[in-house]
Amino acid sequence: MNQTWQIKRPESKISSTLLIRGGNVVDPANNFDGVADILVIDGKIAAVKPEIKFSADYEYNAAGKIVTPGLIDMHVHFREPGQESKEDFLSGSKAAVAGGFTTVATMPNTSPVVDNAALVRSMVKRAEDVGLINIKIIGAVTKEQKGQELAEMRDMIAAGAVAFSDDGHFDDNAKIFLNALDYLHETGKIIICHEEETTLVSGGVMNEGKRSAILGLKGRPTVAEDIAVARDVLLAEYTGGRVHIAHISSARAVEIVRDAKKRGVKVTAEVTPQHLTMTDDLVNPADASTKINPPLRTKKDCDACLAGLIDGTIDFIVTDHSPHAPEEKDREYIYAPSGFPGLETSVGILFTELYHKGKIDLKTLISKMTAEPAQIFGLNAGTLSIDAPADITIIDPDFIWTVDAKNFYTKGSHSPFIGRELKGRAVATIVRGNLMKLNQF
């Protein structure tokens, strides 16, 4: 079967009215779940109700499919500026469309680091120029993400930054991190934290456990994550600042966040499909596809992450889409960079491994990809409310496909999901009323 995607650019004919017929609409923001039609007029939601009588310019038959608010991914690396051989805003946007994502937030660990208003402004402009999806810009917490001096975060907010992060590594300097929380306190902006205590993971390439012990690969222990999460939760509690735990992966760290939330600490957390479904048993030192930070953990950690996702300890799902150029990943495990692209496989993995196996209900799953990240970061997205931007994702829950790097829109080539047969994928992605879909649909 030909799985080539055809993404229509916005400049191709946009229907000014679009009617999505008969889909199973799941809109957690409005607590709606049922068969309905959705009418889109001029890029906005005009109506969501059964059997709308309207002669639209274009009708999409969504019978048997799931229709949700456009999916949100608050943790992607689109590598602009400076690392365009890994990904750029266009290739990343296409990957997002192919995966059903209408809004993403890009991490600032680029070259140069997005740590000032001028860069944020130019990235916002660049996002508009590419224009396929909504790209939000996350700024750095410290200059060059070096953890030494605060970056001009207020200026970056004025330029459009939605949050701040020194993602890629942990900020060792607790005083600077505390200052950042204090400094941002009044703005209500969130700091997204990569939680692995530096000295404990130095040189490590996989989870420290039974598998690393027998392979001889240097480990990154869970305790490094636990210590970092504990510190940042305590600093959030002490300052009243807002901390968001990026890609949580350790069972103990989930517990720490759960306890903190019970005490009323302003902490939120995210998890990736890979940390929900894959373990370090899959690490093969001859193939760097599985190399990510934090690393793939154990079954116990996966289960704890899933439990945390379901009980609300973990607020939403991200992909941590981290593409690298093929030649960078196609080398010795210890030398290959960490990360793999996730936008195009997220829905497939989550439906196959969680939804179809009865581990999570549809409404919770969709909420964790739409309403919850939107609400936490104050985005005008993640809902099918009347007059909201018409960002909509149509998912065929039963569509069976095989992950093949040849069909990727991302420039990233290595993913541990390659070769997997998945059930469920986004079949159409609508951004501000612009319908983009697979060739065969």
């Binding site: 456990g209 039974k210 392979l215 001889g216 240097k218 193939d287 080398r331 010795e332 210890i334 030398y335």
Partner: protein
Amino acid sequence: MKFLIGVSQELAELFFCRIIQAGIDKIEGVSFLESVNLLGRSVVALENFSAEEIRLVLNTTRKMKQIIRRGGEKKLPNLRGKAIVNLFYEPSTRTRTSFELAGKYLGADVVSINSGTSSIVKGESLRDTLKTIEAMGVDAIVMRHKAEGAADFATKIVKPIIINAGDGAHAHPSQALLDLFTIEQRKGRLAGLKVAIIGDILHSRVARSDIYAMTKMGMEIHLAGPKTLLPRFFSFDGVTIHEQIEGAIANADVINVLRIQLERQQAGLFPSTREYARVFGINEERLRLAKENVLILHPGPQNKGLEISSEVTYCAQSAIQEQVQNGVAVRMALLDLTLNGGGEK
């Protein structure tokens, strides 16, 4: 085997495993090893080797050792016309030289590449270096590399046979095979022996390969070293971990003393070489805890006075020099079996 008729599959397998471990390769004139063949196989790690395959290597090594020792003309025609490249990304004396001599004794053309004097210093990727060597028409690449998994990675990239001469802390199969061979020559058997492996287990490819090789041959393994040099979460059937050296060497038939790299002290893994030697060094006094005829192994190069005392290195039970000679024989066996199938020529 007639006498195994009616026995369950599981029991029959156990029986074969035990007799292979015991060094028996023939019953009623029928060889079990006839169907075992390593022709065309890469040697990446011993986890992929069966007890029968290990036995085949040991038997072939015995023949090779006789050839080395008979004096006079050593050269065999077995690998005439074959080309072998030694690709070493890390320094090595004994492994590289013994592979080189092993290839030459078998009549192959052997070229050694050192990372310091090749395109590797110009930033050529491992993939491209391997492809370049392959394009020159070689039959086998003997490879040492700092990265765990590098040899296995190589098997996925190029067609020539890959012989792993050490990949990071992962595996060093030819070393483990020569350890087995040395032990069997001295002790007359493998199964049932208690082996203590002492020192920096965490960073040791020798320990990891020994563990697979020795447990497959029915030996009991005890690991010991300071806890900072023991892998956390390590668990393996037939292997016991000790934080005190005495527990590991008590009653041992074999002690394999691993090299302690001096960088480990700078990395904060132990406070001083002096204290290491006092608490974990193998000296004559500690040796008394082991069996009287305990065999001492060391993969080399040694830090005398640190992990092992001079008296122990040169004592009668020490087989450290023999290991070196056996290293050539084992590597001849591996090259002959993988490139030539082990047959006469």
